[in-house]
């Protein structure tokens, strides 16, 4: 019995953390994020060099066939520095789906090498807003997918259809358009993809594998929870460090109990999140029957804790925390967007209720 990270997992996280520290310091983050540069080639190459882009990809397809937990530890390390590079869609979600669909062509090795990118749109599977949804008609598709993760500048988009299928659309397919959605988070890109009788590859026939979309959604939710976990860790560290430098009333503000207690509350909320997130990711392979529910818990709970930490760590910095200059806001915003993506806590809890058979029929 061991509930913790292995030495290999710790080393993996450490190597990505080091990479992020070296390549995305505060200055670089500001330069990239302010320019909306969410796919800096240097960073993508670096992540490919570390082997992280093929982390869940099968070995035969150029990957290292590691677990969702390993991939999520990378995600957490990226969240720690708000790294402006596409990862969740191209390195976690797309490979899982392509490997399951067994009709992924040569995408897998190209994704693993960082030579291609796929944007993934699962928002409609998590909850469909009016005006969205994609209908399939033979080998052509029409409709709109919103909040396609890492969608801007991608080579293809992986989208869900309203009847529960999964399709892949080439970015240069006739009838496919991509509009960048500007969000508060400038470290990742989100796209709205509109299809007008665009030719598509059907990765999964509606209903062919009833577990695939739920699994993908759960993987996405878990990854986003880890991203927020990393960002929260960093915000708390920065708050604690700042509180020991900044002086008011002749003493460091970290010696005021009101400030210490804010930090203690953040730590007390955050510590158990590690375990909850670990378990959700671990369940993907070890306890598949629990995966969806645990992913809901991790996503919803991390959403709530994330909101508290993002706000509180900012408060500890006083006016400085509110400035653009300080750069804390990149984390605040990343956590804020993670909270909404693939279902905000309220939506996700409703899903968790349904999974436990607690929703009224109709």
């Amino acid at each position: 019995m061991e509930f913790g990270l292995s030495d290999e997992q710790r080393m993996l996280a450490e190597s990505v953390r080091r990479f992020a520290d070296q390549n995305v310091d505060a200055e670089r983050l500001k330069a990239l994020a302010d320019a909306g540069e969410t796919a800096d080639t240097g960073l993508v190459e670096g992540l490919a060099g570390l082997g992280t882009l093929g982390i869940v990809t099968p070995e035969g397809a150029g990957g290292s066939a590691m677990t969702l937990l390993d991939a999520c530890l990378v995600q957490q390390a990226l969240g720690r520095n708000a790294v402006p590079a596409p990862f969740t869609a191209s390195a976690i979600l797309a490979p899982i789906a392509l490997a399951a669909a067994a009709s992924g062509g040569d995408w897998l090795p190209r994704l693993a090498a960082g030579e291609a990118r796929i944007g993934v749109g699962l928002s409609e599977a998590a909850g469909r807003r009016a005006g969205t949804g994609i209908e399939l008609d033979g080998e052509r598709a029409s409709g709109t997918a919103r909040f396609v993760l890492d969608g801007v500048g991608a080579d293809a988009w992986m989208l869900t259809t309203t009847d529960g299928g999964l399709i892949l659309v080439d970015a240069d397919a006739a009838g496919a358009t991509c509009v960048a959605l500007t969000t508060i988070d400038r470290t990742r890109s989100f796209a709205e993809i509109t299809l007008k009788r665009a030719p598509v590859t059907l990765l999964m026939q509606p209903g062919a594998d009833p577990t695939l979309l739920p699994r993908l959604l759960a993987a996405g939710r878990t990854a986003l929870a880890f991203d927020s976990l990393g960002a929260c860790e960093r915000m708390l560290e920065r708050a604690v460090a700042y509180a020991q430098e900044r002086k008011q009333f002749g003493r460091v503000i970290g010696s005021f109990q009101a400030v210490k207690h804010l930090c203690a509350e953040m730590a007390a909320d955050l510590e158990p999140c590690h375990s909850l997130c670990w378990y959700a990711a671990y369940a993907a392979a070890a306890y598949p029957e629990e995966f969806e529910l645990m992913a809901c818990h991790a996503k919803a709970h991390m959403g709530e804790v994330g909101q508290f930490v993002a706000r509180t760590a900012t408060e500890v910095h006083g006016g400085m925390g509110f400035t653009h200059e300080m750069g804390l806001h990149y984390f605040f915003k990343r956590i804020g967007v993670n909270r909404q993506l693939l279902g905000n806590p309220d939506q996700v809890r409703q899903h968790a209720a349904a999974l436990q058979g607690w929703r009224r029929a109709g």
Binding site: E2, Q244, A264, S275, L276, Y279, Q350
Partner: protein, 401 residues
């Protein structure tokens, strides 16, 4: 990451299950008499638990313990199985959970010989005399005095919030023996019999309406000088070994999950306007928030267990348990009261009372646990100072310091 247990531990789990099934008739009886003391069934159950090593596992046989090696995984598995069927985990009083571990670390061979066996068997009941009217969170400010007189100590002063004192045989108590020394250095840890002349116990009702704790007054109470644990003036260090054991005890995540399971059962059964409460979206949302927190704390417990198995210090992860665990338990009870609605307001022997008033009592009692054993604010001081390395409170200039 591997949650599977080796065969040896799976066998152990099976043995615990068989044991619990076999002795169901013992543990289904009340563990305490109406005066609060362990019942005959409670003592028989305790004896069975010691014999099988489900409690007092590492206490040497010569003192009446099980005399086994520590195996935190076995203890964890046993606790899980006990919680699963709702079996009591043995007598839990401050003598067993706090005094005995302290004695094992700091007591003389004679003291261990004399006190441990009757304490763990439930024959002797102890209370903890620490808090005073002027010394709660600031425990080291305690003023109850003991002076030497020939072969005796003579104690004068007052304790307060002393749980169980009204039915206890003995007390372990902190007193000031060196009034001139800095406040942490003038304290001694004594043990005294509650029937010594000069002790007066006045029960205090708690908000539950029951007399759960007391004021205890000392007027020229004499005890032999041999009844000191540790050195004279070293009582603060001795007491800290005890506090360590108390904090380990509070905030058990198994309890949170067990309570949530009971709330779900109520929500699946009870209806409002013909709709099951479990389908009521507002309650459902709160239930799910608590469920996530309880899961997180349960898994956090597994993480700490893993650190323990490897002999690692879990650092800040360990320091948050009392704060989070006691608050979570209280909030689950508060939620259960909301689930019951007006029925949640019933009390004592009212008609329609659910679960014999368990939720009402637990709602209040769990608030006491947030306060006792170091309040939440004190826990936050500990987390920020020891866990996050933030500056300690500036000390007021104190005499002799």
């Amino acid at each position: 990451m591997d949650l599977k247990l080796s065969e040896r531990y799976e066998d152990y789990r099976e043995a615990v299950r068989v044991f619990l099934e076999e002795h169901r008739s013992v543990w289904r009886q009340p563990m305490a008499d109406s005066d609060g003391r362990p019942s005959a069934a409670g003592r028989s159950w305790q004896a069975l638990l010691i014999e099988h090593g489900y409690t007092c596992r590492t206490i040497p046989k010569q003192y009446g313990g099980h005399g086994g090696k520590a195996d935190i995984l076995e203890s964890f598995i046993a606790a899980e199985e006990f919680h699963r069927v709702g079996a009591p985990t043995g007598l839990a009083n401050q003598g067993i959970s706090m005094f005995v571990p302290t004695l094992l670390e700091c007591g003389t061979p004679e003291q261990k010989e004399r006190w441990i066996r009757p304490t763990i068997s439930g024959e002797i009941v102890w209370c903890q005399g620490y808090s005073e009217p002027g010394a709660g969170s600031d425990l080291a400010n305690l003023q109850t005095r003991a002076v030497e007189d020939g072969e005796d100590f003579v104690v004068n002063g007052q304790k307060i919030w002393t749980s169980s004192a009204h039915f206890s045989d003995m007390m372990f108590v902190l007193v000031r023996t060196e009034p001139e020394a800095p406040k942490h250095h003038g304290i001694s840890y004594l043990i005294l019999s509650m029937d010594t002349p000069g002790i007066e116990v006045r029960p205090l009702k708690t908000m539950t309406g029951r007399a759960e704790f007391n004021e205890v007054f000392f007027t020229d109470v004499r005890l032999p000088k041999t009844q000191i644990v540790g050195e004279r003036g070293a009582g603060w260090q001795v007491a800290n070994t005890t506090l360590k054991h108390e904090r380990g005890m509070l905030g058990d995540p198994g309890q949170a999950n067990a309570m949530l399971g009971r709330v779900v059962a109520i929500m699946e059964e009870e209806t409002l306007d013909g709709v099951r409460l479990i389908e009521h979206s507002g309650l459902q949302d709160r239930l799910l928030r608590l469920q996530a927190r309880a899961q997180a704390m349960k898994l956090h417990g597994l993480r700490l267990l893993t650190h323990g198995l490897k002999g690692e210090d879990a650092g800040v992860a360990r320091l948050i348990v009392k704060l989070n665990g006691t608050i979570l338990n209280h909030e689950i009870a508060a939620f259960a009261i909301d689930v019951l609605g007006e029925l949640g307001a019933l009390y004592e022997d009212s008609p329609h009372l659910k679960d014999r008033g368990f939720w009402q009592t637990t709602h209040m009692f769990s608030l006491g646990l947030i306060i006792g054993g170091g309040t939440s604010q004190i826990q936050k001081n500990i987390i920020s100072e020891r866990g996050l390395g933030m500056p300690r409170e500036p000390k007021p200039a104190s005499k002799g310091a």
